[in-house]
């Protein structure tokens, strides 16, 4: 079965939009971080689909970079969440507003 590239791109765009909406509407840090990961994986899907379409390996190489960076980002992000949680006992972004948002 041959799935046309447009289907992949539309699916990726939808996932990206869902991730974007998640970041903007959710107030729990962990869920916001998960939404960001959703956006990054949508981008990965786009890269892989385009890579097959363009018959170039660049897109697939880029995915490795994106995954590595995303892992580093999650490590730092969770450490920041832990530090905040040990100070404030909360993971809700609305309660973190000493400085005006």
């Amino acid at each position: 079965m041959n799935v046309p590239v447009e289907n992949y791109l539309v699916l990726a765009a939808l996932i990206f939009a869902i991730g974007c909406a998640g970041v903007l509407t959710r107030r729990n840090f962990i869920v916001i971080l998960m939404s960001v990961e959703l956006m990054l994986n949508a981008v990965n899907l786009t890269f892989v689909a385009l890579s097959r379409q363009l018959v170039s390996m660049d897109g697939q190489m880029i995915v490795f970079f994106v995954m590595t960076v995303a892992a580093a980002e999650v490590a730092v992000g969770l450490a920041i969440f832990l530090a905040i949680y040990s100070q404030r006992r909360t993971v809700n972004a609305d309660e973190i507003s000493l400085l005006r948002w």
Binding site: V23, L40, L54, A83
Partner: protein, 483 residues
């Protein structure tokens, strides 16, 4: 079949980077195994060696038209200038750190290697000639910066700054990558030269969509309005030495990344993106300046002023000419000296337990600490753009480049904005000289390294104001050589 190369040209391009990164690694390992924590200033020396080594390697090895790794990374004039500016910013914020970190009770010795790692990310951004290298540079810099913003573990504001910076930074990364993916789909490449060559044949709709996403992501990094909401909070909450690094180094790297991408890779589309960036620049400088007027906290005022300065820099990118690019580079150098100087003064007034960051805390400073007050006057006048200081020359060349490219209204708006900015810069001078001190005289002596930082910033602000020709010609020629 692409051949994997790592020869002389490659080694040459990454040597300054290697010097900085290796020093950071050595410094990190040394601090892990070293038990003697008696002297808080000791770890700074090794890091300063890395900074100086990076600058020396850059000056020795740069060459116009040089590029390596299949043209994805360059050590040409533009990246050499960026390297020097970013390493200077990192070095100056290292100088102000030891005394300050001790006074606020931060014992984290990983601070120093983290500053070096952030600086190495900035250097990658300055030399990036490929969207993926640009992305890697942004992330190397940002991940170190997220940690640095939250390095004051027991302070709730510092944690909050790190959290906001991280969440919005990660969000912006998503946009950056999606923009890269769309441009890759439209042009079949991520290299700047290949993109510029493929643009005329590419689908215009796709390309413009990708460029819009890139503008959002880079606008976030340079804190352009309307993507600036994180900046005042993060700048105010982060430890002041980190704020200085973010306001100067990170902004410089992001602006150069922006300029190289738009002036080189997207040059064929100048008509299309110029209008968007025009509005971005006008909004950024106006909102930054108007909001800065209403601030009562000096650190927050400097944050809004740094947003306004991002607007001036974007305005020169709108011009899209080598002259505009050169003016941007020179202004970044000018901004490094005057803004780091201002943050060093903010640090020198803080004492254990009280930050003294409100405008009221500066009342009567001239009688309590005449030298520091005089230095602050110098930095404020330079930020306003008063001759013969470096801020004036920098702004003059920005405006010249904008007018030459035919954007008269943009230049007019920029001059009007400078007039607004005079209000809050001069207000601080008024506080220091015209009002009586509110509290008892401060007996605190600034640390010797902080004095060195203030001196360097003062000398830079005056010297390059009177003799701007050498760095200015260098900056212009390096952008001319890009074409």
């Amino acid at each position: 079949m692409i051949e994997v190369v790592f020869g002389g040209a490659e080694l040459r391009a990454v040597t300054p980077l290697l010097v900085v990164v290796v020093t950071a690694m050595i410094s990190l390992l040394y601090e892990v195994f070293n038990e003697d924590h008696s002297d808080p200033a000791r770890p700074v020396w090794l890091s300063l060696v890395g900074i100086v080594g990076g600058i020396v390697a850059t000056v020795a090895l740069w060459e116009n038209g040089h590029s390596a790794f299949h043209g994805t990374f360059a050590l040409d004039g533009v990246s050499a200038f960026t390297n020097v500016v970013c390493l200077l910013a990192a070095g100056l914020s290292l100088l102000m750190a030891p005394g300050y970190l001790t006074s606020i009770g931060v014992r984290a010795r990983e601070f120093y290697p983290l500053v070096l790692l952030a600086a190495s990310g900035m250097m990658v951004m300055g030399g990036a000639r490929d969207l993926i290298v640009l992305f890697l540079g942004i992330e190397i810099m940002s991940i170190a910066a997220y940690v640095l913003a939250g390095i004051h573990r027991t302070d709730v504001k510092s944690g909050e700054a790190a959290l906001k910076y991280f969440l919005l930074g990660a969000f912006a990364t998503g946009f950056l990558l999606y923009g890269i993916a769309i441009l890759y789909g439209a042009t079949g490449s991520t290299g700047y030269d290949a993109i510029a060559a493929a643009l005329p044949k590419a689908s215009k709709l796709l390309v413009l969509g990708g460029v819009a996403l890139l503008i959002v992501a880079l606008g976030f990094k340079v804190s352009a309005v309307p993507f600036h909401f994180w900046a005042p909070d993060v700048y105010q909450g982060a430890p002041t030495s980190v704020t200085a690094l973010m306001a100067v180094g990170i902004k410089a790297a992001a602006v150069v990344g922006f300029a190289r991408l738009f002036i080189v890779a997207l040059a064929p589309l100048h008509q299309d993106w110029a209008m968007v960036v025009w509005w971005l620049a006008v909004l950024t400088m106006t909102v930054g300046n108007v909001t800065a007027v209403a601030q009562n906290n000096v650190k927050r005022m400097l944050a809004y002023s740094s947003i306004a300065h991002a607007g001036y820099l974007l305005a020169a990118i709108v011009a899209g000419t080598p002259r505009g690019g050169g003016a941007v580079l020179f202004y970044l150098l000018a901004y490094t000296f005057m803004n780091v100087g201002a943050f060093a003064v903010v640090i020198s007034l803080g004492r254990k337990g009280e930050a003294n960051e409100q405008f009221d805390d500066y009342a009567g400073l001239a009688s309590r600490q005449p030298l520091i007050a005089a230095a602050m006057v110098l930095f404020m006048l330079s930020l306003t753009g008063i001759p013969p200081l470096v801020g004036f020359v920098g702004k003059l060349y920005l405006i010249e480049a904008i007018v030459q490219a035919g954007y008269i209204w943009l230049a007019v708006i920029m001059v009007l904005n400078s007039a607004i900015s005079a209000y809050y810069y001069l207000r601080l001078i008024f506080e220091m000289y015209m009002r009586d001190p509110a509290g008892p005289a401060s007996a605190m002596e600034p640390a010797p390294l902080l004095i060195a930082c203030l001196l360097l910033a003062t000398v830079g602000t005056i010297f390059f104001g009177i003799f701007p020709d050498a760095p200015l010609d260098f900056a212009r020629n390096s952008f001319l050589a890009l074409r």
